[in-house]
């Protein structure tokens, strides 16, 4: 595991071009994700019944709710990894943090998009400015857009890891606020209470929703593994580049010394000097 205090001294293992970020396990996991999504779609759109009030729009729940949970999970992973960055000063955890944030942002975006689409036929509006759940979710999304934008403008990997860890730890405060907002400010939201805790879901609906959680968890894991490996390869490429530059500089210095020993008394004139 590399540390943020200094680049690793020993040469790192260079990944062969074309080998990618996949492995036998991730390919199997990816295949399971594809099958899982297909089965989930069959259950969501064909086997479950339409709601008496919401009609077919209710099917959005099988994507919307697991997306929300996956988004929260991504941000919580980022927060845990950020604590580890500050504690262990580890680049390994920094890569986990950015992977969690990117995937969390993707699923939060999906949650917002499906929520907006669901809101139009259900609440007769795409967006409700006074709705505390919608606003807090949008703010959560923007906090992590800022987190990722910040990471792109800090050139030093060490400084980036430490500073962005603090931003992630402040940002994760919003996760429980978004999640609990429908209970804390029940009078200021059109959003329904928790779909699972109100006990109104039928057996097949509940089963399909549970399947949605499992499938989204698998997709989340598959993305996290690949995003982590991409980050790790980027770190290796940077380290290899640094080692190559240091070796080139060392060779140049040795050549200069050899030259000075072979031709004593001959020195280059000092630029701008009077001698």
């Amino acid at each position: 595991m590399a540390t943020t205090t200094a680049p690793p001294e020993k040469p790192v293992k260079v990944v062969e071009p074309g080998s990618g970020t996949g492995s036998r396990t991730t390919r199997l996991l990816g295949l399971a994700c594809l099958v899982g999504v297909a089965v989930l779609m069959v259950f969501a759109f064909a086997l479950t019944e339409a709601d008496l009030v919401q009609q077919d729009v209710v099917r959005m729940i099988y994507i919307h709710v697991p997306s929300a949970i996956a988004g929260y999970t991504g941000f919580v992973i980022t927060a845990i990894a950020s604590v580890m960055v500050l504690w262990k000063k580890s680049m390994w955890w920094d890569i986990v943090a950015v992977a969690g944030a990117e995937i969390g942002l993707l699923f939060t975006g999906l949650m917002l998009a499906t929520g907006v689409i669901w809101g139009r036929p259900t609440w007769n509006t795409w967006w409700e400015w006074g709705d505390v759940r919608l606003m807090t979710a949008l703010m959560l999304f923007l906090v992590y857009v800022g987190y990722l934008a910040y990471r792109r403008v800090v050139p030093s990997a060490d400084v980036r890891a430490r500073r962005s860890a603090i931003i992630a730890l402040v940002g994760v405060i919003n996760v429980p606020i978004v999640n609990r907002s429908v209970e804390w400010w029940a009078s200021r939201t059109l959003h329904q209470q928790s779909s699972l805790s109100d006990g109104k879901l039928e057996d097949l609906t509940l089963f399909t929703l549970a399947m949605g959680f499992v499938v989204f968890a698998m997709v989340f894991a598959w993305m996290l593994i690949h995003r982590f490996r991409i980050g790790w390869l980027e770190l290796q490429a940077d380290t290899v580049g640094l080692q190559a530059a240091m070796a080139e500089r060392r060779a140049q210095m040795e050549a200069d010394i050899d030259d000075a020993v072979a031709h004593p008394g001959v020195s280059e004139p000092i630029e701008g000097g009077s001698a």
């Binding site: 987190y147 800090v154 603090i166």
Partner: protein
Amino acid sequence: MREVWAVAGKDLRIEMRSKVVASQVLPFAVIVLVLFGLALDADRGTLRSFTPGLFWVTVLFVAILTIQRSVSIETASSAFEALRLSGTAGWKIFAGKALAVAAQLLAIEAVMLLGVVVLYRSSFEDPVLVVTAALAATMAIATAGSLYGVLAVGMGVRDTILPMLLLPILAPVLVAATRAFDDGLSTAAVNGWAWCSLLACFALLYAIVGGVAYAVVLEDA
């Protein structure tokens, strides 16, 4: 606490001498209030009912400038390094910087309150609530801003990245402060003290996180 007051006093003395906030940021706040009046077509009823929101949006804009100023006086002459070498604990530097920003913001808000009375014809139905909400919201803005201000140190894009990082974090403060002012100015029937309590929670939360994290960030500043 002596170090906290020393850091705060240093920042306020620099401001008293340079008068950047007084001569540039304060006029900017008044200009924004006037522009809102122009944009809303001088409809006094609308202006009066939207005063809390317009007031706090303006405060957020002003806070960005004040925080950038607070950071730039440290970076311009490598003063952060001197602060580090002074041996003062990170949380004390943070508290001093946040207090100085809060003091400047409160001074600007006092002038802005006068501005909304004159320009928008707003009236204070509950002055105690208005003052308490302003104090709590300003502390929340100053503590979060002081932490995020130093996070943006050392980057060429500091001026653009700071609002992007800070404004979403301050959105709950904007909502709570607006609701508390709604009650204090009688523009809406809400429980302003409940929102005021939420503001105090945010101020405390950001102060704790900032106090703990500032030393880590200061190492790289």
